[in-house]
Symmetry: C2
Amino acid sequence: MPAAQPSASPDCTVRGSTVQEGASASRAKGRPRSAAADLAILDATRETLAELGWGGLTMGHVATRAKVAKTTLYRRWPSKNELVVDAVASLFDELVMPDLGSLRSDIQAVVTQFADLLARPETQAALLALFAEGTRDPQLRRRIREAIVDPQKRLVRQGRAAAQARGELEPDTDAESAREEVDIIFDTIAGTVEHRVLVSGEPITAEWTSRFTDLLLGPLTAA
Amino acid sequence: MPAAQPSASPDCTVRGSTVQEGASASRAKGRPRSAAADLAILDATRETLAELGWGGLTMGHVATRAKVAKTTLYRRWPSKNELVVDAVASLFDELVMPDLGSLRSDIQAVVTQFADLLARPETQAALLALFAEGTRDPQLRRRIREAIVDPQKRLVRQGRAAAQARGELEPDTDAESAREEVDIIFDTIAGTVEHRVLVSGEPITAEWTSRFTDLLLGPLTAA
DNA sequence: TGCTTTCGCTACGGGTCGTAGCGTAACTGG
DNA sequence: CCAGTTACGCTACGACCCGTAGCGAAAGCA
């Protein structure tokens, strides 16, 4: 398995005081943080997640596995939740919107990609646990949305744009209405696949994907 | 808020040995278990869940609140997870399939009911956490499916049957195909509403429900 | 009146979280 | 080259929770 590329925002804590002082780009003064440690910690988090699941993920384990002191983890992330957000977010970056020539095949491709991602043990162990914590901690939920959920809405937007360019969909008339439509499509795809895989525990077959795509295409397939 | 009726299966552990001996219905011999304690524990679990969330739910808290010794909890449920399954399952029994005269209004009514249920703090705190644990513990997942998920599929079946009786839907041709259709519809409704409420964190408005229903009805609305 | 099982209580071992204190390592500016 | 600043590894700690064990007492049955 290829090592996932580091997340866009490796650090979670701010170096120095909270108030921004002096120049905008503060030149670090002391010993710089080890970038290798960042990667080692995130990798160790994903590996431990895959092997032991959320319940078995302890800061001690991660630290040992990353060959790093436990205190080093707490210097970067305030809590286990934030660490896992960063560790998991990068997994979603591999999702891409292909342009296969028809809206139907594009949707099927994305659904299949998402199903494969959810089949991986580290995703499976972390995603729902993270969402669960998010229901209680509004700040964590915001981080989840910013790092994981919202970035993936690009897939829906890209797919819509391609279909509009092909003439399969009407062009947008109202920006607000378009945004709501993107949201509803996204929630439907993400929620349904998650529920099927993680709750019902049944596999995503090609036939299921085909049926589900029919549902999503809705009125278009009636013609 | 009205006290929820007790779950169908109050006990989780078997009294006596695992091997079934003698008569089928084993007549209890010693001091019987307090039925009042069962209800007090389940109520205390829901209340604590609503106030402190999953993370704040400890067996000690529940025991204290139910005015019961902690050991009494462990005599009935082997672990926190199983206790919460029973405590939460009864919340879902209040969902009903109304017969409002059209498939469209029936769907909207159920979606609204489900959204209201998910808006309640005890449901919100417990459901995703439970699902998350279920991804790691196959036995717990089975209990979740049997106690929470599968029973609610009746709603989809009832709605379909009513629509078929009205002539809005074609009668079933193949039993297997019908079962798959029920599954896909159920996963779509449950998953999408859960994702919208619990992950995206946005409210379910009447307008959203209307749009989502359009999506579900699919080809029918094109006519 | 015995027998059986539950009940409340107290205490315990094992594990995790997140923090504090220390001496040392790395890097920067004078 | 040397002081200042920051990160690092290590160890230890208090607080909390889990799940179990042991005890005497209570509540039903034969």
